[in-house]
């Protein structure tokens, strides 16, 4: 097991290197630091000195890959690639173009993100499983058809509309919760209720439909038929046989997103003014702060790969037939 995990982590290195090279190429070769400086400084202040100064302040004035001016030690290390990209591997994110320490910002903003994403994730899955089970209980009936139509309708509505409608009715019209904002400590709950509810509701359509299919797949298997044949009641079949076995594919399929919960949701966080990583990223995108965007891309990839590894491990935990090799 341990050897497998270590091997998987080593296997992740070339992928992360690829991500790193790709973002590096996007940010520094397609779009040179000169152009970045020009856009950041605006049309008014553009002069050769201003651009040089802007680049020097942020360490963008070095060669891209190989610094021929330096001796053997600085040949590879005193370059933009090493300074800005290679350091990400040890989670040293450096400073943003505005001069703030990105690492500190991330560790501070991670918690509000998690405070929204974790409850949404857990409640969302539970609600979807309950609904799916309910639909499966009445499978091949009018209720089943109606529920599936409702699911398609729900998943055809853009997430933005759920947020707009939720904010309008719950916050503006009925004054049940604040429209947006965030406070630390227990006060946070008031601000979190609406985003969590909306996150859950927006996922019901797709989730219920998917889980229903998984449960139905289980319901058509031989052991379920055998259970019915030997006289087990329909409720017992559903809760003792279909539910536990149907949960396996559901739980293993959601494991992959767990690490990414740290990244938060761009949309929800920005609409509700929650100071998490999602809105942090969005602010950086809108301010064209490439240093932050690059760090978040790297962090996102790391968390995704972590999720893949966790998925593999969870398979072995729930299904002893699967051997890691």
């Amino acid at each position: 097991m341990l050897a497998y995990i270590i091997r998987r982590l080593l296997y992740a290195l070339p992928i992360l290197l690829g991500v790193n090279l790709l973002t590096f190429a996007l940010f520094f070769m397609v779009n040179t630091p000169d152009q970045m400086a020009r856009v950041q400084l605006g049309d008014k202040h553009v002069s050769a000195e201003a651009i040089e100064q802007w680049k020097a302040q942020r360490g963008y004035d070095k060669p891209l890959f190989i610094n021929t001016a330096e001796n053997s030690e600085g040949l590879l290390t005193d370059t933009i690639f090493f300074e800005k990209s290679a350091r990400l591997f040890v989670f040293d994110f450096g400073k943003s173009d505005e001069g703030r320490v990105i690492g500190a910002d991330i560790s501070e903003r991670m918690w509000p993100s998690l405070a929204v994403a974790l409850p949404t994730f857990i409640i969302g899955i539970s609600v979807n499983i309950v609904f799916a089970l309910f639909v499966v209980m009445f499978r091949a009936s009018v209720f089943d058809t109606a529920a599936m139509v409702l699911c398609v309708v729900l998943l055809s509505i853009s997430g933005v509309f759920y947020i707009l409608a939720g904010q309008y009715f719950f916050a503006k019209l009925w004054h049940l919760v604040p429209i947006s904002g965030y406070l630390g400590g227990t006060d946070a709950i008031r601000f979190l209720i609406l985003p969590v509810i909306i996150g859950v509701v927006a996922g019901i359509g797709g989730g219920t439909r998917l889980y229903r299919t998984l449960f139905l797949e289980e319901a058509n298997k031989d052991y379920v038929r055998t259970a019915r044949a030997k006289g087990v009641s329909e409720t017992a079949v559903l809760f003792r046989h279909i539910l536990p076995n149907g949960l396996i594919p559901i739980l293993t399929s959601v494991v992959v997103v767990i690490p990414s919960l740290f990244m938060g949701s761009l949309l929800i966080e920005s609409f509700f003014g929650i100071p998490g990583l999602g809105s942090y990223t969005l602010d950086a995108i809108q301010a064209q702060d490439f240093a932050i965007v690059r760090s978040m891309v790297f962090l996102g990839s790391v968390l995704y790969i972590l999720g893949l590894i966790l998925t593999d491990i969870s398979y072995t935990l729930v299904d002893p037939r699967v051997r890691l090799s």
Partner: protein, 472 residues
């Protein structure tokens, strides 16, 4: 008659503008036509399509999608109108604004600007203004709109007028539908009597088809009739008709849904098949590429790339002489990037399916006969994995339409000058916090987008059921 002549004259003097996305969408339509023609020769595929179109939901959603596609195609023939000639110069200058054939159809909607917001069907403006009576007394009230309800003497006739016009539209629509359906039924009767020997052949659900067509005809008639004298969906902040902009946004939605997949489809097909077919180091490289790409959070990759395109446009202004050309460049780039984030999934599926198919006996037999790689791939493997491509195409469509709205909201979507539902929703944030609330433009975007996405979802469900052996 004179009107017709002047329209013809106008048509002769215009300057066509060909945008890249226009070319692509027409290529797409033609190749889809060819694809279906090829498919119709394949009995198995015909059987499967028959199950799609024999379901009521499948055929109804298909007609709705066709309707949207038709609007998008009309909106993809662009031109620049000539400007009035200046004194003493024979040179013709063309307007900087690019219009499309759809704009000609909707001329009445386009040219009826108000000053600012007005509610749907309103005849008074949304904001109070200072006005003067004839004897010079200044008072403050809601002014009448410049282009809505001009023919009404008083506000009392308002409701009745809407009702009368709706009834008129209903009658016209009923007449048109009746003629079309009547003719078609007569034609079917004749066909039927010709092949009366073929009893028991299931026919398409014509009732549903007629109903869908009638509803579409009715909504077109109603919109055209009432939009002559009212702003059916009100006007936006700068007084433009919301209905016009939400119809214009259809092109953006339909194009992003189709082009995003199609632009990167060759990449997915070539890499997926070669990985599954050649195995070995090719497989390793392809797997490495798609794992790397798919491990980057999609939305961040899109945002980063769109930022770069913005920078490119800002630093190369000379390449984009028209606003429409700039918007189109950005739009295509967005489609491409959206495709880049999604082709990895399709590539993975194609690789797995190719692995499976290339182990089958007839492929092995072809190998034994010494058939070349190209021939095996094109004759034996490609036809057997097209259903996966097809399912991915229809499944991704609705995903991209929805994604556009989110991306435009974040500010990394289509150009703000381009009509799109995302841009309309973006505006809605400030409109919903006004008092009284301005709800109509977000409602318009919601309805038009919802109908398209719902139709696409229903259709893709049917296609998946028919073509995916696993889900059956």
């Amino acid at each position: 008659m004179n009107e017709l002549v002047s329209v013809m004259n106008e048509l002769m003097s215009i300057k066509p503008v060909v945008l890249w996305s226009d070319v692509l969408i027409y290529i797409l339509v033609v190749s889809l036509g060819l694809f279906f023609y090829q498919l119709s020769k394949n009995p198995l595929a015909r059987q499967r399509w028959r199950t799609v179109f024999h379901s009521r939901a499948g055929v109804a959603s298909f007609i709705v999608i066709l309707f949207y596609l038709l609007i998008a195609l009309l909106d993809s023939l662009h031109y620049r109108a000539p400007l009035e000639k200046t004194e003493g110069s024979d040179e013709v200058h063309y307007s900087q604004e690019v219009h499309s054939l759809l704009d000609v159809v909707l001329t009445e909607l386009r040219n009826k600007d108000e000053k600012t917001y007005s509610a749907p069907f309103a005849i008074y403006s949304f904001a109070k203004e200072n006005m003067q009576t004839d004897d010079g007394v200044v008072y403050r009230d809601f002014p009448r709109l410049a282009n809505a309800g001009q023919h009404l003497e008083s506000a009392a006739e308002h409701g009745m007028d809407i009702f009368v016009r709706s009834m008129k539209a209903l009658l016209v629509a009923a007449f048109i539908s009746a003629v079309i359906i009547g003719l078609h039924i007569a034609w079917r009767k004749r066909q039927h009597s010709l092949q009366s020997g073929l009893a028991g052949v299931r026919t398409l659900p014509w009732g549903t088809i007629y109903l869908t067509l009638s509803v579409l005809v009715l909504s077109c008639c109603w919109v055209l009739e009432l939009s002559k004298v009212y702003h059916i969906l009100g006007t936006d902040k700068v007084g433009q008709d919301v209905l016009y902009w939400s119809i214009k946004a259809i092109r953006t939605g339909v194009l992003i849904g189709t082009l995003a997949t199609l632009l990167t489809l060759p990449l997915a097909i070539v890499l997926g098949i070669s990985a599954g077919y050649f195995k070995g180091w090719v497989d390793d490289v392809v797997q490495y590429i798609y794992t790397t790409l798919s491990s980057i959070p999609g939305i961040l990759l899109i945002a980063a790339s769109v930022l770069l395109i913005d920078v490119y446009i800002e630093t190369h202004p000379e390449q984009f002489n028209l606003v429409a050309v700039r918007a189109d460049f950005k739009f295509l780039a967005l489609c491409f990037i959206l495709g880049m984030t999604s082709w990895t999934g399709l590539c993975r599926l194609l690789r797995a399916e190719t692995l499976k198919v290339s182990q089958l006996d007839y492929v092995q037999a072809a190998h034994a006969f010494g058939v070349g790689h190209n021939r095996i791939i094109f004759r034996h493997i490609l036809p057997n994995i097209t259903h996966i491509i097809l399912i991915a195409l229809v499944l991704d469509f609705s995903v991209f339409v929805l994604a556009e709205a989110v991306l435009s909201y974040i500010g990394v979507g289509v150009d703000p000058s381009m009509a799109s539902w995302g841009n309309m929703i973006n505006e809605a944030r400030s409109e919903l916090s006004r008092d009284p609330v301005v709800w109509w433009s977000v409602a318009a975007a919601f309805v038009l987008m919802f109908v398209l996405v719902l139709a696409a979802n229903l259709f893709s469900d049917r296609v998946r059921d028919a073509f995916d052996p696993r889900s059956a």
